[in-house]
Symmetry: none
Subunit: 229 residues, 4 copies
Amino acid sequence: MAGRQSTSMPAGNRRKAAGPAVAERRPRAGRMASGGVIREAAAALFLERGYQSTSMDDIAAAARVSKQTIYTHFADKRELFADLVLGNVERVDAFLGTMADTLRGPDVEAGLRRFARLYVHFVIRPEVLRLRRLVVGEAGRFPELARTYYERVPGRVYSTLAQLLEELARRGELTISDPDLAAQHFVWLVLGLPLDRGMFDVDAPAPTAERLDRIADAGVRVFIAAYGG
Amino acid sequence: MAGRQSTSMPAGNRRKAAGPAVAERRPRAGRMASGGVIREAAAALFLERGYQSTSMDDIAAAARVSKQTIYTHFADKRELFADLVLGNVERVDAFLGTMADTLRGPDVEAGLRRFARLYVHFVIRPEVLRLRRLVVGEAGRFPELARTYYERVPGRVYSTLAQLLEELARRGELTISDPDLAAQHFVWLVLGLPLDRGMFDVDAPAPTAERLDRIADAGVRVFIAAYGG
Amino acid sequence: MAGRQSTSMPAGNRRKAAGPAVAERRPRAGRMASGGVIREAAAALFLERGYQSTSMDDIAAAARVSKQTIYTHFADKRELFADLVLGNVERVDAFLGTMADTLRGPDVEAGLRRFARLYVHFVIRPEVLRLRRLVVGEAGRFPELARTYYERVPGRVYSTLAQLLEELARRGELTISDPDLAAQHFVWLVLGLPLDRGMFDVDAPAPTAERLDRIADAGVRVFIAAYGG
Amino acid sequence: MAGRQSTSMPAGNRRKAAGPAVAERRPRAGRMASGGVIREAAAALFLERGYQSTSMDDIAAAARVSKQTIYTHFADKRELFADLVLGNVERVDAFLGTMADTLRGPDVEAGLRRFARLYVHFVIRPEVLRLRRLVVGEAGRFPELARTYYERVPGRVYSTLAQLLEELARRGELTISDPDLAAQHFVWLVLGLPLDRGMFDVDAPAPTAERLDRIADAGVRVFIAAYGG
DNA sequence: AATGAATGAGTATTCATTCAT
DNA sequence: TATGAATGAATACTCATTCAT
């Protein structure tokens, strides 16, 4: 939004007064970065309004770019959407690293608690919830994309967690027969309540950090009762 | 929901298959019952294609009714959607009753297992998953509706379960300090894995009954380890 | 206004008369000037059929342009209508200049007679009457527009006339205490009869030039009897 | 509005036998008055929103009557409109009588002044202006109706006035060669300004009674200057 | 006389995408 | 690389009118 055109001309009647000289033009600062600008504009709009309610015109306007310029960078609307959904998958890597670090330490339960808290706070962020809603809601239209998102984003957390749990089991810190299942139990004990609520209640204020911590801790307690020692 | 049309044809592409004779047209008697027909047609299409991808024309065609007839029964498209989402809420009652029955019995763990299996099978049905995806995906456009759905459908299961667990605790069969939280733990231990996967993977074949049972049982085992006796 | 299309065909039903070959289609060059074409087509149709009875489809067909092209040039139907009503206001300027010239001369009554004849002929033209009917008829829907039209078109004539009359009074040629009122008397003595009839009788043949001149002269005679010397 | 039909019997309900339980029915208080109720509802809506913007549904709702009941009383929408426009023509008679009375008296100028005031107040009433706008605006769709309205309503005033003026001229009170033209001059001297403004400015507050009287008096003064003695 | 249900044609407006420059 | 102009098909919703009861 915000002060959208540097020219002082009352936007809208540019049509006729195209201007004589070409040099005078070029209002856009960076010129080249269109791709990124478009990507960001599209992402913001998709997350805010959904896929179908966001038009290419909206995106072009938000990116301050002509519609055709979008098509220079992206084949079609689907691609723009796929870019939003899968474009930041690599960011998960960072989280995966932190995850391992968090879990490490002499006190297993404390480690699990640290990770549980980290994870629930991460997932409950509004933009993550919105993306999740978006992907789920468009799963009918983009089945492949939804599946891929699942594998690449939460799926990688699950499998990494399973590996780490298995390691702890091998070290005798936990008693686990099926590490994948155990990972699922851990995740849903911690995430189930706030994530489910968050998916349905759009306008609800996010739970407070304290509440999230308590939920995480309670989940870990149950997990330890079943898999501890 | 309910078997909407005895014909197995995927409503909507009738246009081409107009039939051989023109005389064959107008099979509908002329009066009555349109409301129900429309409701069912709309429900089927919404679940199949989503809200925005289903047009009023599609619904009219599927219901074999003129478009305006839809508008005599429903104020607008939103109302038709709300009808799908909240129109069958009372069916939950039946489930709630069964639920209580299922839990009853001398062996607590066996009761929980029966319920867990019942619940997971219930929730994993394709039409339930589709409705869930639909509501979540349109939560941005229909926040109130999504919230209401949450309260009336899964919410009622949660609170009923919490009551039943509390009762068991009072009878000394379980050790529970926060029944609502315990109910959430139970639900997500059992449902988390298949529901999460089901939400994202549209085309995936439903898990086999055996697999679901095993998942349910495993969840109950963890629950008992934490809350048992 | 402006002779809009040289073809005498009643624009709009070209569809059927598509011509023999398919290659013949798309006669419009491809670019440019659409704005003007649309404007003219819309004006002609609005004047002929009225606002509500003219559909955007009609306009698009008459302008030989796709419907969406209309929307790239004009925000909505209202804007197209406003363009017709206020788009040619500046043409009044020409008339205002002529008006002053006409009135000038040694013989005041002769000058008034010249102006009266000019004015009545100007106003009684079918397209002016149609526009007047249109604006009045849509005054309920476009109150602001009707008010503006009144101020900018007849209103400017009235006030210019008042100024000129005041000048004549200052020179002792007329006796006028309230120039605005005198201008109104002049205008309605001359215009009242033919304009009122013209507003109601759509199909009536326009009065002959002689009849209009006689009406104008008679009006001036009354005016002079009251305000002369 | 007022019961326009002199027959007190409900048009034609003999066809069917009354049936056994006729007394029990009668949900509507007045039963018979549907025609009138519809007429009034339609009139109010047409005047408020215009012809095209008033739907038969609107009228049915406002009259608290089923849509089909409207069609029992009126052939179609046009007839309902014609009824509004021409249905109260006979009221002009009352005005015509008053008009003659008003003009009578020893002082001609005073009589003309009385009539001028009466007339301008009559015509400037909002509902009269609205009807006039409506008829003018729909003159394209209902040319015959507009012409008839003109003849029957203002036209009768004009011709009656012409007769009365001619009589005065015959009595030597005025000097008039063309009574019809003189009547037009009178009418437009008095009405021109407020009627023209009133037609275009929908929302404008009606002129005060004093202002209208002053306008009327000024018009009469000009008329007398030209046609007096 | 009155109704509730139904209809087919039509309303303004929006869409993702392509073309010539 | 970027654009403004153009498009055809689709969108939700409305209309005056008729049918069977």
